[in-house]
């Protein structure tokens, strides 16, 4: 009797597993649904732009219903250095430039336009250092580090602040980041190149060439 009950129990589990497996059909299943879309009211001014910004949102969670960024209305224009390749604007990014290197995925150089409150240099530096696993200099040393950052004038009077974390990256094969920051009115442009230290170093001239080509549209 005991064995009968046990066999019954095991048998029912096996049946459930088999039925469950059989029900998993691999042919594509058509789904139909009704989607109701209520668009946001247009902003009071400058309705051509709606680039989301700020740090908490994952780019993959960008709004689904938005107007496409019009290349002609981008706040900055630039020239892609040869042989870098340009990808279309996407989400928060004004552009993504790909840098090919043999034996590895292409490096990405991103151009992101954000609002004025994103321009805080200290907060950004700490965040980027965190991403690169670098301990930020303490106290006055941090202020000196910020004061010593390279500043340069670009096209049409754009004032650039250049950040290169290379001296702070200890390992030769560690990650490094080069960033160019400029502000034009209420828009802050971040140009970031992230990758292995030695490769980013090799792209330094092209990175600067890109910054010098950027001007307000």
């Amino acid at each position: 009797m005991l064995f009968f009950r046990f066999s019954l129990f095991i048998g029912s589990i096996l049946c459930c597993v088999l039925i469950g497996t059989a029900c998993r059909d691999s042919t594509p299943v058509q789904r139909q649904y009704t989607e109701y879309v209520l668009a946001a009211p247009p902003p009071p001014e400058d309705p051509g732009h709606d680039h989301p910004h700020d740090g908490m949102m994952d780019a993959s969670l960008a709004p689904v219903v938005t107007s496409p960024p019009d290349q002609g209305e981008a706040p900055f224009v630039f020239e892609t250095p040869e042989p870098w390749r340009a990808l279309p604007a996407s989400g928060m990014r004004m552009a993504t430039l790909l840098i090919d290197h043999e034996g590895m995925d292409p490096l990405e150089c991103t151009l992101t336009v954000l609002g004025p409150e994103s321009a805080g240099l200290e907060g950004n530096l700490v965040r980027w250092m965190g991403q690169l696993d670098i301990d930020p200099p303490r106290g006055d040393a941090f202020q000196r580090y910020m004061d010593d950052l390279e500043r340069m004038e670009g096209k049409d009077g754009l004032q650039w602040t250049l950040v290169d974390f290379a001296p702070l990256v200890k390992q030769d094969d560690g990650l490094n980041m080069m960033v160019g920051i400029t502000q034009q009115g209420a828009r802050v442009l971040f140009v970031r190149l992230l990758g292995p230290k030695n490769i980013v170093e090799g792209e330094r001239d092209r990175f600067r060439q890109l910054l010098f080509s950027i001007r307000p549209s």
Binding site: L2, Y33, L38, D54, M56, M57, L61, P68, P88
Partner: protein, 376 residues
């Protein structure tokens, strides 16, 4: 008979319970360490959703599914075969039932649970949420601005060459090439005549190796649209990064084609009325953020505030305040993580039952011992 007896003894053994608990501890520690480098998704897939794990590629180790199934069978066998079902065993039966219910609840959540997100700009509203990892090809006829009758196909494991019939409009979409993760390129030659139609002007796709988590993937594919009223065949390039659908017009109207995150229909329409946030003094670190939403259930609207640690629940759905973003012109975008879990109540019931079982068992033991002491 001897073999059956051995199998039964194996499933009834208390040693099996102990071994299962030890294996679970190992799996939890290994999964926790693994996720530091490879992320939550991969750790979950490798350690907790699997039946068998190969450590260092060749050492087999039971996955969490195997261990939990064994534990379930062990508990069940003990409950139905070992217990005498007298009043003295009542507590133990309740404990076992509670633990089994807990395991069953985990299974229900895993099989039927659904996780998605909804991002809304202030003023925007929708009745569909987006999946984190799965994508769909969605097609609708553009008739009204606010209502879309969508026909969609899931793109998970879709083979190249398959035709996706769109019977409502009398045409079909053949999948020529599909990449789960792709990079898109525009032509740099202005004289180049594109051979594919795409809303963003993309002319070429390249498969990309991608990262560990499919959540970061952006798929792309080339499709052939057949059976248009003018008998023309159109090649469409659909890319997950397109911000607008690709539109095709024939004599019967304009149709929109979009490769987008799989949509899950919600039982309610949600509109974001206002988003507010508060920062810690002199810092950019948010202290709290909340969304005021209007929820429309079959024409009846009510306003609800969703805050961090204060989700909104409706039927089996739970809306969590997940993240936000500032947009230009002062408007804000709020993102809700939406979990559909039919077994949400099960862990509470199971824990209560286990606790009650422990209490009952303790009291029964106390009574029995007191009785035997009095007798002696």
């Amino acid at each position: 008979m001897k073999i059956a007896s051995s199998i039964l003894s194996f499933f009834l053994s208390i040693r099996l319970t102990v071994v299962c608990l030890l294996l679970l501890s190992v799996l939890i520690v290994a999964g926790t360490l693994y996720q530091v480098e490879y992320g939550l998704f991969l750790a979950q897939k490798r350690f907790f959703d699997s039946w068998l794990i190969l450590f260092w590629g060749f050492i087999p180790f039971p996955g969490t599914q195997t261990v939990l199934s064994l534990l379930f069978v062990n508990l069940f066998c003990n409950m139905i075969l070992r217990f005498s079902y007298g009043w003295r065993q009542m507590g133990l039966v309740m404990i076992h039932m509670g633990l089994m219910l807990l395991l069953a609840g985990g299974w229900v959540t895993r099989q039927f649970g659904q996780e998605s997100f909804l991002s809304l700009v202030e003023g925007e509203g929708s009745n569909v949420a987006s999946d984190y990892r799965e994508w769909e090809v969605a097609v609708w006829k553009e008739e009204r601005e606010t209502v879309r009758n969508v026909t969609a196909y899931d793109m998970k494991n879709i083979p190249d060459g398959i035709a996706l019939p769109l019977d409502a409009w009398g045409f079909d979409l053949r999948v020529d090439i599909y990449h789960d993760h792709a990079r898109a390129f525009r032509s740099t030659n202005p004289d180049h005549e594109p051979r594919v139609t795409n809303a963003s002007g993309i002319t070429m796709l390249e498969e990309s190796s991608g990262g560990y988590d499919p959540q970061e993937y952006t798929p792309g594919g080339v499709f052939t649209l057949r059976g248009l009223s003018n008998s023309e065949e159109k090649r469409l390039l659909l890319f997950g990064g397109d911000l607008e659908p690709t539109r095709i017009t024939d004599d019967t109207g304009t149709y929109a084609f979009s490769l987008r995150r799989k949509r899950h229909e919600l039982p309610i329409f949600v509109q974001l009325l206002n988003f507010e946030r508060e920062f810690h003094p002199n810092s950019d670190i948010p202290k709290s953020f909340s969304s005021l939403i209007e929820v429309d259930v079959q024409g009846v609207a009510r306003q609800v505030t969703v805050e961090m640690n204060k989700p909104f629940r409706y039927q089996g759905y739970t809306f969590y305040q997940a993240s936000y973003a500032d947009l230009e012109q002062g408007t804000q975008l709020s993102t809700f993580a939406i979990a559909l879990n039919y077994g949400r109540i099960i862990p509470y019931v199971a824990t209560a039952m286990t606790f009650l079982g422990l209490a009952v068992h303790f009291l029964i033991q106390l009574y029995v011992r007191k009785g035997s002491r009095d007798r002696s």
